[in-house]
């Protein structure tokens, strides 16, 4: 097997520092947004006692799900022994860590008492999925960190497969945990199903890989390194499989609900009468997030790199739309405490709840994305994560 040279990104160009500066600016905006929300309370957000989790959760859960998915490329390399993916693994691991960091920051900074993070680290209720997630997230950092170490340090290289396998299993459990955050809720009709765990896993595959492909292509194009078609074509086919699987799970989920009369109202809300949520579901999640990328990736368009990138952007946008529908759409539909009766009250019972995200929420969410990208940008300068070249000839040698 031929060896691959990994090299740091030089990162001294104006372009690099501009990218760094722009991302830094968004991190600053995110920090200011948090400060604003923390000082005045959630009254400055669009959230209320009906929509209790808003846009920050959409971003946070998306980033956390994408984080575990971004680790896939590394997992394929070590767990499934595909040598072609080996040079791609370090970036995959660092991107996973960075996205997880961004997602978690948004999640904890949106807490009503974000100053009490230490309480969340010292008081545990083990029946809570949230508590489980606290451990799953910490373990993720530990295991993926160790895995990254085995990839970068020759002395511990023999442990790479073990670490990779552990990280892979852990990330599957982690996404199960993320999906179960919603799956273990009895109150809301769109939740409370084991479907959410595997569905979140397959979604993480798609979102994580889409982000990974964009970061990979950007890194190679902006540093002038060669990224051959062999890598791109292989990964884009994989991406198509993942997106198709996401579509499959979404269809099964809704078809099952449609068979149960008690879910007809909530399904009608999401699929037909929900206004913004219906639009986001059909146009965002299904059309932009699944159908369009599938058409691009499976047709001859998928041979052009620009179109692959467009497909990736669409998958990410569709993913955010999916999270919006999953998290906010489910809350917008009123709780049915008295089935068959019309409810009215001063607390908005029995009516569809509206939600308009505020500017601070939006910037807090973007801040998480910016942190993730900033960490990645800085890491590729600091560490030898990227192969000096990924041209077809180099990659072809790996396969033998």
């Amino acid at each position: 097997m031929a060896s691959i040279t990994f090299r740091e990104v030089e990162g001294s160009s104006l372009k690099y520092w501009m990218l760094f500066g722009v991302l830094g600016l968004f991190v600053l905006f995110g920090a200011l947004a948090w400060n604003h929300m923390h000082h005045y309370g959630h009254v400055v957000t669009g959230m209320d006692n009906q929509i209790v989790w808003g846009l920050p959760h959409v971003f946070a859960v998306f980033l956390i799900v994408a984080a575990s998915g971004a680790l896939n490329v590394a997992s394929i390399a070590s767990v499934f022994n595909k040598p072609m993916y080996k040079p791609l693994a370090p970036l995959s691991a660092i991107l996973a860590l960075a996205l997880m960091l961004g997602g978690l920051l948004v999640l904890v900074l949106d807490l009503g008492r974000s100053d009490r993070l230490i309480v969340a680290m010292t008081h545990f209720n083990f029946k809570s999925m949230f508590t489980w997630n606290v451990f799953l997230y910490s373990g993720f950092f530990g295991l993926v960190g160790a895995y990254l170490w085995t990839m970068l340090d020759r002395n511990v290289k023999p442990y790479s497969k073990t670490a990779g396998t552990a990280a892979f299993i852990w990330r599957l459990i982690l996404t199960t945990g993320t999906g179960s955050l919603f799956g273990f809720l009895i109150a809301r009709e769109l939740y409370g199903t084991a479907m959410l765990a595997p569905m979140f896993i397959i979604m993480s595959f798609a979102y994580g890989l889409a982000i990974y492909l964009m970061v990979l292509a950007a890194a190679y194009s902006w540093t002038g390194r060669t990224l051959g078609d062999a890598v791109m074509m292989r990964l884009k086919s994989l991406l198509a499989v993942f997106v198709a699987a996401v579509l499959y799970f979404v269809v099964v989920h809704h078809m099952t609900n449609l068979y149960f009369t008690k879910y007809h109202a909530v399904e009608a809300f999401i699929l037909r009468d929900g206004g913004i949520f219906t639009t986001l579901f059909w146009v965002g999640q299904i059309l932009i997030g699944c159908v369009a990328p599938l058409v691009i990736l499976l047709s001859s368009l998928g041979k052009q790199r620009t179109w692959i990138m467009i497909a990736c952007v669409l998958i990410v946008l569709g993913g955010i739309a999916q999270m919006y529908v999953t998290i906010i759409g489910a809350q917008a539909f009123p709780l049915d405490m008295f089935p068959g009766l019309k409810e009215t009250s001063s607390f908005f019972d029995g009516e569809v709840h509206s939600y308009a995200p505020s500017v601070p929420e939006f910037f807090l969410g973007l801040g998480g994305v910016a942190i993730a990208l900033l960490v990645t940008t800085f890491a590729v300068k600091l560490l030898r994560l990227l192969p000096a070249s990924l041209d077809d000839a180099t990659v072809a040698k790996l396969e033998h």
Partner: protein, 258 residues
């Protein structure tokens, strides 16, 4: 020994055992010191004594007596606990509501029902299950509370509650809290069954007092574990329902006439 017997011995909270304890306590009380015992049951416990699981506080809501347009229970709650009534709040959508009047109508028969809705003080509360820090907890005497010292404001309990009973305090309260009822920005809160009144020995909640004062008598508060309590007696006679009984949460609030 039959399987059933084994089960009732293993589970300290089984209804049989509760009934037995209740009956035994009542019997002992009557035999030894009737006056003292009855006083204790009705007027709470000494202040240095912890809340006991021998008691289960609960409420009976008689929806047939609940008057249309009357919200005395709601204002009494807001007064007792210091939360701003929604009509006076600058941010009605974000204002906390510990108790609210719910109007129900059957679209087919046009029959209307009125009832107050608040925390149902589930024995198996979903909010307690999901709380990551254990801040959402059930006190020994069945009251579901939020420990604001450990609440981090994650709102997972609000996602989990099937009754929409909980509210987040969205803005600063500027030191308008009552001395007996701490509440604060960023923490979740809900009906406490007037825990400060119970611990004081009032033996009643503000909403039930107000309902009685208004002459409706739609709310009856008491110890559901004590077979001799007014609420237990009424619960034995009246057909009652639990809201979302399908979830099997064993509620502390029972409704008649729904």
């Amino acid at each position: 020994m039959s399987e059933h017997d084994t089960k009732s011995e293993k589970e300290p909270n089984s209804p049989e055992r509760r009934r037995f304890i209740g009956a035994a306590t009542a019997a002992a009380g009557l035999a030894i010191a009737p006056g003292v015992m009855l006083y204790e049951v009705a007027h709470g416990r000494p202040e240095e004594q912890a809340a006991s699981s021998a008691v289960r506080w609960g409420m009976l809501v008689d929806a047939t007596q609940c008057a249309t347009g009357c919200d005395d229970c709601v204002s009494a709650c807001s007064t007792e606990n210091g939360w701003t009534p929604v009509a006076e709040s600058r941010h009605p959508k974000q204002a906390p509501q510990w108790i609210r009047k719910l109007e129900l109508q059957d679209p087919l028969t046009q029959m209307e029902t009125n009832l107050p809705m608040m925390c149902q003080h589930c024995a198996d509360a979903p909010c307690v299950d999901v709380c990551p820090t254990g801040a959402s907890f059930k006190r020994a005497d069945g009251i579901v509370l939020v420990n604001r010292h450990t609440c981090i404001g994650c709102r997972y309990c609000m996602m989990a509650c099937p009754y929409k009973a909980r509210s987040l305090v969205h803005e600063s309260l500027n030191d308008t809290q009552l001395a007996d009822v701490p509440r604060g920005m960023g923490c979740v809160e809900a009906c406490t069954l007037c825990v400060q009144k119970i611990d004081r020995g009032d033996g009643n909640t503000a909403c039930a007092e107000a309902c009685t004062a208004a002459g409706h008598n739609a709310l009856l508060f008491g110890d559901m574990n004590d077979p001799e309590s007014e609420i237990s007696k009424r619960l034995r006679e009246l057909p009652t329902k639990q809201v979302r009984a399908d979830l099997n949460l064993n509620l502390g609030v029972r409704y008649h006439g729904i």
